[in-house]
Symmetry: C2
Subunit: 314 residues, 2 copies
């Protein structure tokens, strides 16, 4: 089943201890789409400027991503400049040039209307809400956000949260959004704002899914949290897009399955970790572009082997 | 099979956001022994002062722990004063009174000589090495240490590390001991100092076992790390002894099994997490004293449910 994703398609200039790149293809919707494309059909809503070339678009279309909903506007594409140092756990934003994103009005092509799964990638919650409103019939809605929107756009974000099935954020964002230091209390406070389930990403330590006691088709019976591992990595080249790639693997797998079950949700958490682990191996989208489904399955087996008591059945 | 443990038997004065206790029974060997006692026979080597009462000793003997090797010396027992604030992730030491521990000379009762498993709990590496030397025929040696010994007693610690099968430390200690920020590089640098395997504890995020490529009877075939979850807890009353309780559950389970296999090692990691999760529910050893094997098994099933793709077989 097809996923409709709205979010940034951008250029990133990134410096990490492993090197420096200038204006490489990035953006939340881009990383998400590439990761999800290994599992299901993906359709993108976004906006780019005149600097977005056919070669950039081909990065997505080569993976079967539908780019019909990417609007081409006059001006430059969204551009993010950031750097990572030390443990590479947190990005330091050096510059955010919204450019064509500043006046973006998301329009949904009629060919996208039958999308059953909606992903609201990390953008202005006003835009997230506008897209959500235009897709009233979707089966499932997942979303992401970040500290900037939590801190200064709380009222707009609250509107988006009320209609989410699953919110995917990291530990710091969960603490900030809830005002709670304890991870369990934070999770339940966030779910009280709307999301029926919450996936909290812990970087190198994996991710935890929490479930509210409200009905959630397919996982009604789940009452305990689920913890998915991350791969211990001897080298993280560029963490940019790891969270979006996690979301793409997670949601792409869910959308690829006939129905949601507890095992499908858990397996999706593992695929999220798998896609995140690939994303950080090279700068930008380079690793996701060169990836094969066989490599994904091989790493999935590794995640299982790393976390299950019994050796896997061959 | 019996585990011989050498370490501190002490009194702790602790303040956390949940309250304050004065001179409660504690110490690494105490927490370790109580946790391991649910799985196998435990024998303790340590020293206490005149303030250590028969009631204190009964806390251990009631759980079947053999206290024959606890020497009673003139003076006061080892006393640690500490506090936790905020996220309760790190203790702030306010005072360390070595007292009778300052002149401790470990002596091993002849009844302890047939112990097959040795645990060197967190004490002066000079004492750890002395006990190790007196037990040349043991089947397996595991140990713990802390930042204090890593920083200022590196040469003495190196002697202990050379003969360890498994070292159990936390993330910060692994970085400090190795000088490496990356967790995988840190693990391999630590194992190059001696330990054939390394268990790194991540607090609320669980623990990771790394394996060297040197022969290790029972787990020779293991080449990938293993990640065990921790229980997301809505309330941590007192983290003191969590690491020692992890080690007790881990090693106690291993010693209870006829032989070490990859599944036994993995299961032991889960029992470590289980015992750590109980230890922090109340101050001092209170929770471990009241615990039952049924509660342990119930929580073990919860850990499995939280981390495995398929629902457990009932």
């Amino acid at each position: 089943m097809a996923i409709l994703v709205v979010g940034s398609v951008a250029f990133d200039s990134i410096e990490t201890p492993h090197g420096k790149v200038d204006h490489v293809l990035g953006g939340a919707a881009t990383h998400f789409s590439l990761a999800a494309s290994f599992f299901t059909d993906v359709r993108v809503i976004g906006v780019v400027g005149e600097d977005f070339t056919p070669a950039d678009e081909a990065v997505m279309t080569r993976r079967g991503v539908n780019t019909l909903g990417i609007e081409h506007a006059a001006g430059l594409s969204f551009h993010w400049t950031g750097e990572y140092s030390g443990s590479l756990n947190e990005a330091k934003t050096l510059g955010t040039d919204l450019n064509v994103f500043a006046t973006f009005e998301p329009k949904i092509p009629s060919a996208y209307q039958d999308s059953e799964y909606l992903f609201l990638a990390n953008i202005d919650p006003v835009l997230q809400a506008r897209v959500r409103k235009q897709m009233p019939g979707v089966k499932m809605v997942c979303g992401d956000t970040m500290n900037y929107w939590i801190a200064d756009h709380g009222a707009n974000l609250a509107v988006v949260l009320r209609e989410l099935d699953v919110l995917l954020i990291n530990d710091g964002e969960a603490r900030m959004l809830s005002g709670e230091q304890n991870p369990v209390k934070a999770a339940h406070a966030v779910m009280a704002m709307g999301p029926k389930a919450l996936v909290v990403k812990h970087g190198e330590y994996g991710a935890t899914a929490f479930f509210s006691d409200r009905a959630f088709a397919g996982v009604e019976s789940v009452t305990v949290p689920f913890r998915a591992p991350a791969l211990p990595m001897s080298e993280v080249v560029d963490p940019t897009g790891a969270g979006d790639s996690f979301a793409g693997g997670f949601y792409g797998y869910i959308a690829s399955q006939p129905k949601l079950t507890p095992t499908v949700f858990r397996t999706a958490m593992f695929y999220g970790g798998v896609m995140g682990s690939f994303a950080v191996e090279k700068f930008g989208t380079e690793r996701l572009q060169a990836l094969t489904r066989e490599e994904i399955e091989e790493r999935f087996r590794l995640f299982r082997e790393m976390s299950h008591l019994e050796a896997s059945v061959a």
